[in-house]
């Protein structure tokens, strides 16, 4: 049990700075998710917390200890790797016991913890098998088990679900969340999958090019993205961004005041809809030429373009009868609109 504090943490590889000053306060028992595109530095940051990468500047503390110069084993953390990193020559039981044996934990205590973890993760039948005899999902559970038996101050997850198929991923996501809740161990979780990030996180950190774009609860990030980067990264399909230069192709109702300095107007596909006949639009109104319709089950996404070819997407419930090349008007209420300034920052 411990909080993790990062103070202006930086990382250079030669002259290139990959982590450009990150400060974070991760509360005890919190599940913090680091999310961002490939190469944004999220894995590097996690590995710096773990002690697998050096820290160029700044401090990282776990609990009350500054861990900058401590070995990974001395930081009291456990890590779950993307490729599981199970020791192939050991049985599942030996894999779980290895870290404890190295710490000279008494045998009865090791047995007790393995039994507990195996029960929680439902891997009891596989304890005497080798990793290669297990399926991907089972290996994933063993990797989790190896972290749990250590009873560390913090769990670090490095894209642990990206090698699983879609169905299993959802299932394990739920399980990780449940386990983390019940153990109440501080966790840092790295993923590039925004769905995973949204569902797992107590708080979410969006990283871009080595900097924090925004920190907040998933719903805060969804409802009030601080930048156009966050706006397009969180939510699927991503938010439509309409540059003000294209404003001749759309209209806003007279009572709506666009904040001064607005360069881009954002609206989520799920907030755009076909107006009911006879309603008066109180917000944004756009004329769209349909390019493609994606039916995803309960709803469909329509991809189209404005007259000047600016792409735009919107959601319609159920199966639609919209055809390619149809031209239609869609609208969004004014409180659903997001305004961004010329550097991409949120206005109002």
């Amino acid at each position: 049990m411990a909080n993790i504090v990062l103070k202006d943490v930086r990382k250079n590889y030669g002259a290139t700075e990959v982590i450009k000053g990150i400060s974070l306060d991760i509360a005890d028992g919190e599940m913090l998710v680091l999310v961002g595109p490939s190469g944004c530095g999220k894995s590097t940051l996690l590995r710096m917390i773990a002690g697998l990468e050096g820290i160029t500047a700044g401090t990282i503390s776990i609990g009350d200890r500054i861990v900058n110069d401590l070995e990974p084993s001395e930081r009291d953390i456990a890590m779950v790797f993307q490729n599981y990193a199970l020791y192939p020559h050991m049985t599942v039981r030996q894999n779980l016991a290895y870290g404890l044996k190295n710490r000279k934990t008494p045998t009865e205590e090791i047995d007790r913890r393995i039994t507990g973890a195996a029960k929680a993760l439902e891997i009891e039948p596989f304890l005497d098998r080798k990793p290669r005899q297990l399926s991907g999902g089972q290996r994933q559970r063993v990797a989790m088990g190896r972290a749990i038996v250590r009873e560390p101050a913090a769990f670090l997850f490095d894209e642990p679900l990206s090698n699983l198929d879609a169905k299993l991923r959802v299932q394990m996501r739920v399980e990780i969340k449940r386990l983390q809740r019940s153990l109440a161990t501080t966790s840092v979780y790295v993923t590039h999958d925004q769905m995973e990030a949204m569902t797992l996180a107590d708080r979410l950190v969006v990283l871009n090019a080595g900097r924090i774009e925004q920190v907040g609860t998933p719903i805060e990030l969804y409802e009030k993205p601080a930048t156009t980067f966050v706006a397009t990264f969180i939510g699927s399909p991503s938010m439509n961004l309409l540059p003000m230069e294209t404003s001749k192709d759309w209209s806003v109702s007279d009572n709506l005041v666009v904040p001064a300095g607005t360069a881009t107007l954002g609206v989520r596909p799920e907030d755009l809809s076909l107006p009911e006949p006879g309603t008066v639009t109180n917000g944004l109104q756009v004329s769209v030429t349909v390019l493609a319709v994606e039916l995803v089950g309960a709803e469909s996404y329509v991809h189209g373009s404005l007259p000047d070819r600016q792409p735009i997407a919107f959601r319609v419930p159920g199966r639609s009868h919209i055809g390619i090349d149809d031209v239609m008007t869609v609208h969004a209420d004014w409180e659903k609109l997001h305004f961004f300034g010329d550097t991409g920052q949120r206005l109002g």
Binding site: P72, N83, Y87, P88, H89, N102
Partner: protein, 293 residues
């Protein structure tokens, strides 16, 4: 597997022919000659020979000097394999840790493999020759009564070192490749699990190198049995008092020096059986303990 269909029936045989001809001329034909010779006794002048059945084998196997050569071979092979693999592993783990100039170190460490066995033997002979060797001089100055020409154990040590030295490069190459094949995340997981230095090496790295080690064990044993003739011939000539006479060397000595072709052929047949049995044994029992990724 992908099967290739040749349009022409003869072409595949033509393509294989060079290899098959080589195998027949340089392997099957001599081997069959050895089998035939091993059951024949020649008169001292080589004018006529008579079929004697298994008499040559009986003579060889009851000959105390043959049993002695067998013991020498076992000691020599074990020591050579152990020294060459041990040193190679040590060098490979060290080279794996080098950050700068890794290619340079590796190239230098691989060079000795290109040296011919006889030349390698001469190198060591010169260095440790009691009369003129630089290192022999150093040894004697430091109180070691170094004389491999008279002392059998020292002669054995010299040929083992010379034979192992040549093989270190080869083993080094495989160990380096083996070390690189170990996923980095496993080492990281081990370091988070609190295993460092020696403990990490023996509990994680070494078990994961097992396939490489096993392969090298087979190769090195076969090397020590067969390919070390040149080194022994140039360094000790099997002496002193046959202290370094291995089975292969005895085959040569009895056949080409003492001109007892029947006995020599019988010995080479036995040697062939020993190596087949040894390799089969290694695959049957040692390989069971090997874990392939």
């Amino acid at each position: 597997m992908h099967t290739v269909a040749f349009p022409n029936k003869i072409l595949p045989y033509l393509l294989l022919a060079p290899q098959i001809v080589l195998t027949i001329v340089f392997f099957f034909w001599p081997a069959s000659q050895a089998l035939y010779q091993s059951m024949v006794r020649q008169d001292p002048f080589g004018l006529k020979s008579s079929f004697v059945g298994l008499a040559n084998f009986r003579n060889v196997l009851t000959d105390p000097s043959y049993i002695h050569a067998l013991q020498v071979t076992v000691v020599f092979s074990l020591l050579t394999a152990l020294v060459s693999m041990g040193v190679a592993l040590l060098l490979a783990t060290a080279a794996d840790k080098v950050v700068r100039g890794q290619g340079f170190y590796r190239t230098l460490l691989i060079w000795p493999y290109a040296v011919a066995p006889a030349v390698a033997g001469m190198l060591w002979l010169f260095m440790f020759n009691p009369a003129m060797g630089t290192l022999a001089y150093l040894l004697r100055r430091n109180g070691v009564s170094w004389d491999p020409l008279l002392n059998g154990d020292q002669a054995m040590a010299l040929v083992v070192v010379a034979a192992a030295w040549k093989q270190i490069s080869y083993n080094f190459l495989f160990f380096v490749a083996g070390l690189q094949a170990i996923p980095k995340s496993l080492i990281e997981a081990a370091s988070i699990d609190g295993a460092r230095g020696n403990r990490r090496f023996w509990t994680i790295v070494f078990p994961l190198l097992a396939p490489t080690t096993f392969f090298l064990l087979v190769v090195n044993t076969v090397y020590a049995f067969f390919d070390t003739f040149g080194i022994i011939h140039s360094v000790t000539g099997g002496g002193p008092a046959k202290a370094t006479e291995t089975l292969v060397y005895k085959v040569y000595n009895d056949g080409f020096v003492n001109l007892n072709l029947g006995s020599s052929a019988a010995q080479s047949v036995i040697l062939m059986i020993i190596v087949i049995a040894l390799t089969a044994f290694q695959f049957r029992f040692v390989e069971k303990r090997v874990h392939y990724g």
